[in-house]
């Protein structure tokens, strides 16, 4: 089974082509060109889009616009190719790339996204529950290195690929392939306009 996986939820966009659990290719770029990456990956494997069997997409949390870009792409691919889609949490993909770590994604506005007790949350960096020795990964860990390290966290060097939600992990984690419209964004935050009324 040939799976195209991608994640556009953070500032670093990742794509991977995975055949039966084996990574055929991986790319990292910027959000608007995720299809360029997909095209290059397929070309490298001698495939055309119609030969894809499934799509795995990062559903966030992260940039709202980025998440939508990825899910709109995945849903349109599903329509065009009649393939199933699986959504994978960007936090869980990061965790799969750095087992035992606590993924921290930049949520802007001096907040971060983390998963606690199986649910994504948005918190102030100083409020992230780290114990001495907890390894934090992700663009939020890089951005708030000083705050997190002050709480005892250990953070790999900024350039480490452990901070990148590599799409091969989305493909490897994806289990629940099905209708694309069931794949929902993980916004975590409600729109500002709804805050007063919420």
């Amino acid at each position: 089974m040939d799976v195209l996986a991608f994640d556009t939820a953070t500032s670093v966009v990742t794509a991977a082509l995975v055949r039966d659990g084996q990574v055929l290719g991986e790319r990292v770029s910027r959000p608007v060109s995720v299809l360029e990456d997909a095209h290059a990956l397929l070309a490298g494997a001698g495939l055309v889009p119609a030969e894809l069997d499934a799509v795995a997409v990062g559903i966030g949390p992260g940039s709202f616009t980025g998440i939508r870009l990825g899910i709109a792409t995945a849903r349109a691919l599903a329509l065009a190719l009649d393939v199933p889609v699986a959504g994978v949490s960007t936090l869980r993909a990061l965790a799969a790339g750095a087992p035992g770590s606590l993924p921290v994604i930049d949520a802007k506005r001096r907040e971060v996204f983390v998963e606690l007790d199986g649910e994504p949350h948005v918190l102030a960096p100083a409020g992230v529950p780290v114990e001495p020795g907890t390894v934090c990964v992700g663009d939020g860990a890089v951005r708030y290195r000083a705050v997190l390290e002050a709480s005892g966290a250990e953070i790999p060097p900024d350039a480490s690929e452990l901070h990148v939600p590599r799409a091969c992990f989305h493909a490897l984690l994806a289990r629940d392939y099905g209708a694309a419209e069931r794949v929902e964004p993980l916004y975590v935050r409600i729109p500002d306009a709804d805050r007063a009324s919420a």
Binding site: H39, F64, E181
Partner: protein, 321 residues
């Protein structure tokens, strides 16, 4: 046939149009109800809704035309101007669809789309003409010489005409969108009851912010409890001032260009007083005046398509080209 996709503001739309300009399906899912409680379009709310609706409207357009994806030769999609997050939903979906099916793609300028609403069957308008584009997002005077594009003669320096209607409706305690509400109420009122200023801006530009302020003062200065009784007169006078500004300018543009034909496109073209004031103007049918994807597919007929897969890096743009 051409599949058009439009998500630049608060309508999620898909349409199927033939090369010859025949509309086979024109599906528009309006978010007006969703935004009504905010009194205007909230970009993040609009973008979330676009994501929910973009694939369903494409499916519905195919069903309406009794067509399949195999019938589509080209995908046309609005890539600006508009709300960037909203545009990216439609653009991402359109690019993915075109790439997966190995189709050509045409990124369409939304304003060109409005003009191209006039080129659809059964009564296509032929250029040249002077065109007023007035909507919630835009107020522009355009010199249209051929099907492929337009030249901007003037634009609004502040609010768009449709925005002026929305803001006026809010001041009068009417609903959103404001254009239809004011138009309806104005029919019961005296348009000469109040004299609202039509801004004198040099050249062919527009300004509506002073008008809005004048209405604010008129409402504020009413004796307590009088608003209910005076509302129709206020609506009629306010509408008169907006329409007068639009009509004066489009006529000035036509005479400057020596254009024999005047056309009006955009949501404000639905306004009954505007229609009555420009009886000879070419108008698109009402469903094609407000944002829709048939006009986007129509514009794509006159723009060179980017062959597969040369469009994968095409980005959205918030402002006019």
């Amino acid at each position: 046939m051409i599949l058009g996709v439009e998500t630049s503001c608060d309508e999620t739309a898909a349409a199927l149009v033939t090369r010859g300009g025949e509309v086979l399906a024109n599906v528009v899912s309006s978010q007006a109800d969703l935004h009504a409680r905010y009194g205007g379009v909230v970009p993040e709310v609009a973008s979330r809704r676009h994501l929910e609706l973009v694939v369903p409207v494409v499916r519905e357009a195919l069903a309406e035309a009794n067509a399949t994806l195999d019938d589509i030769e080209t995908v046309a999609v609005t890539n600006g101007p508009g709300l960037i997050g909203a545009l990216l939903v439609g653009l991402s979906a359109a690019k993915a669809l075109a790439w997966a099916r190995r189709l050509a793609l045409v990124p369409v300028d939304h304003l060109h789309g409005h003009v191209a609403s006039l080129y659809l069957e059964p009564e296509p308008v032929e250029p040249p003409f002077a065109c007023l584009l007035a909507s919630g997002g835009h107020t522009l005077l355009l010199d249209v010489r051929d099907h492929g594009g337009y030249r901007v003669l003037g634009t609004t320096l502040d609010d768009a005409a449709g925005e002026a209607f929305d803001k006026g409706a809010r001041l009068l305690g009417l609903g959103y969108p404001g254009g239809a509400a004011i138009d309806r109420l104005a029919r019961e009122g005296d348009a000469e009851a109040y004299t609202f200023p039509v801004a004198r801006v040099p050249g062919l530009d527009f300004s509506f912010s002073g008008l809005k302020t004048a209405l604010l003062y008129a409402v504020r200065d009413l004796p307590h409890g009088e608003l209910e009784r005076r509302r129709p007169d206020l609506a009629a006078s306010y509408q008169r001032a907006i329409i007068r500004a639009l009509v004066e300018r489009v006529e000035a543009a036509a005479s400057r260009l020596g254009a024999e034909q005047v056309a009006v496109v955009g949501g404000v073209a639905a306004n009954s007083e505007l229609r009555a004031s420009l009886p000879a103007a070419a108008l698109a049918p009402l469903p094609l005046c407000t944002d829709n994807a048939a006009m986007i597919a129509s514009a794509a007929r006159f723009v060179e398509a980017i062959p597969w897969p040369g469009y994968l890096a095409v980005d959205a743009r918030a402002s006019a080209a």
